[in-house]
């Protein structure tokens, strides 16, 4: 069984994102082919997380369209969910569960396998994923005892515990030590080499070989994103006055 099902081009056209009253970005296009990695760059508030949430189907673009192999993603959210892993800022770890139980739930939910063979396969992947991120010895530890870096690694282990074509990573390197950092980069490289795709919002240089850069600043609308000139003027005034 291949680690990753054949990936199809993932595409966004003319995406507009509005948060509150402000347009965060507009007219954003991207293309992602099998084996491609996309690094989202830009200052805080430039919409990196918003774009990742759009890609994950967690929110809908105000305008524009996301397609997978030509068909709109919004039409079949469950099918889209089956081909992606989303690692956000929050680790989604239940303190009452052990590290292995936490991972087993998300891996089981993603794989959804029935029968003993499928479950054994998922079990093997879970062990391998924990080992890869150096959590093998902590598998039976209650998650509430894990450090911030260990929690992060546990969240990242989800990527390997169930196969998915598209990895959406929101600042995945936070709280990671140098070794885990290198392992994450290698995991992304391996994933892309096997025909997977990755989108990663980050402020640090991951050193990925084949990554394209998408600078979100280029899509920031004029006017600071305010449709209403009065709101823009007000925002400028507040910015001028500085923090109270």
């Amino acid at each position: 069984m291949p680690a990753v099902s054949p990936a199809r081009p993932f595409r966004g056209r003319d995406l507009v994102c509005v948060r509150g009253e402000r347009r965060v970005f507009a007219g954003l296009d991207f293309d992602l082919a099998p084996g491609g990695a996309l690094l989202l760059a830009g200052p805080n508030g430039s919409g990196k997380s918003s774009l990742l949430r759009l890609m994950a189907g967690l929110s809908r673009p105000t305008a524009g369209i996301l397609t997978w192999d030509g068909s709109p993603v919004a039409e079949d959210r469950e099918a889209h969910g089956a081909r992606l892993h989303y690692v956000g800022h929050a680790d989604a770890i239940k303190p009452a569960f052990t590290a292995a139980e936490n991972l087993a739930f998300w891996a089981g939910l993603a794989a959804g396998g029935r029968g003993r063979a499928a479950r054994a396969e998922t079990g093997k992947r879970i062990d391998a994923a924990l080992d890869y991120f150096g959590l093998g010895g902590l598998a039976e530890t209650p998650s509430r005892l894990l450090s911030a870096g260990q929690r992060r690694r546990l969240a990242l282990a989800r990527l390997l515990a169930a196969p998915a074509a598209l990895w959406l990573l929101d600042e995945p390197t936070l709280a990671l030590d140098a070794e885990s950092f290198a392992r994450l980069v290698r995991a992304i490289d391996d994933h892309c080499a096997a025909g997977g795709m990755a989108v990663c919002a980050t402020h640090v240089d991951l050193g990925l070989a084949s990554a394209e850069r998408l600078d979100l600043d280029a899509f920031a609308p004029a006017n600071g994103g305010f449709a209403d000139p009065f709101a823009a003027a007000e925002a400028a005034e507040i910015a001028e006055a500085g923090p109270a």
Binding site: S59, Y86, A92, F97, G108
Partner: protein, 221 residues
């Protein structure tokens, strides 16, 4: 279906590990009912007259207590993001979480209620109907409450907002739940009231997963 069971099983195990919700709900239910004889006096006839009403009202309030946390914990720790981007429909997630919630809070309430009925001197004819009415009524409370819990996500003081949203919607269940017990005590048929409770349950079962899932999507935007 295996994903539905996975979510149900996870929530049940979480409740089992940290059983505080179940204990809190049951203790609140018992304490609140026990307060009534102190408040209205220990006359057996008075208590028997109000028994069904007291049990139902406190059951509603007890069910409310744990509803706030139905989605909130997953919302705060990022789990809801993952559930919403998993290959499972959000409606099914809602249904699994509601079933787990009912098994860990609604069912214990039903099991305790005959004891409290003894305490309040409920007539012997009322017991079976009280249990039947609660069996049909408490899942409805959970399902309606799920809509409120989803809508209150992300709001400050969500618990207070939740009560305002949900308690008015609980009134029909309260009316028919109490009427069923009163009817059987008065020697009338409780059947029509139970049928209404069943109808509310089926209606809530059909509608609330969609409404709650829409509320969750709104909260995740």
């Amino acid at each position: 279906m295996s994903r539905f069971l996975a979510i149900l099983w996870r929530d049940l195990r979480l409740a089992g590990r940290w059983g505080s919700d179940t204990v809190m709900v049951v203790v609140f239910f018992v304490l609140a009912v026990v307060l009534f004889p102190f408040g209205v006096g220990p006359e057996a006839q008075v208590l028997a007259r109000i028994a069904a009403g007291v049990i139902w009202v406190t059951a509603l309030l007890a069910a409310m207590l744990s509803l706030e946390r139905l989605f909130l914990v997953d919302y705060e720790d990022g789990g809801l993001d993952l559930l919403a981007s998993a290959p499972v429909s959000l409606e099914l997630v809602v249904l699994a979480k509601c079933l787990a919630h009912w098994l860990t809070t609604g069912l214990p309430l039903i099991l305790v209620s005959p004891l409290l009925a003894v305490l309040l001197n409920l007539e012997a004819e009322g017991y079976a109907v009280l249990l039947a009415a609660m069996l049909a009524g408490t899942p409805t409370l959970t399902l309606i409450g799920a809509i409120g819990a989803a809508l209150a996500l992300g709001a400050r003081r969500g618990g207070a907002l939740l009560s305002l949203l949900v308690l008015p919607l609980y009134i029909p269940v309260l009316i028919f739940g109490v009427a069923a017990v009163d009817a059987s005590v008065a020697g009338l048929s409780a059947h029509p009231h139970l049928m209404f409770l069943g109808a509310f349950f089926l209606g809530a079962l059909a509608l609330s997963p969609w409404a709650a899932a829409a509320g969750l999507r709104q909260a995740l935007e």
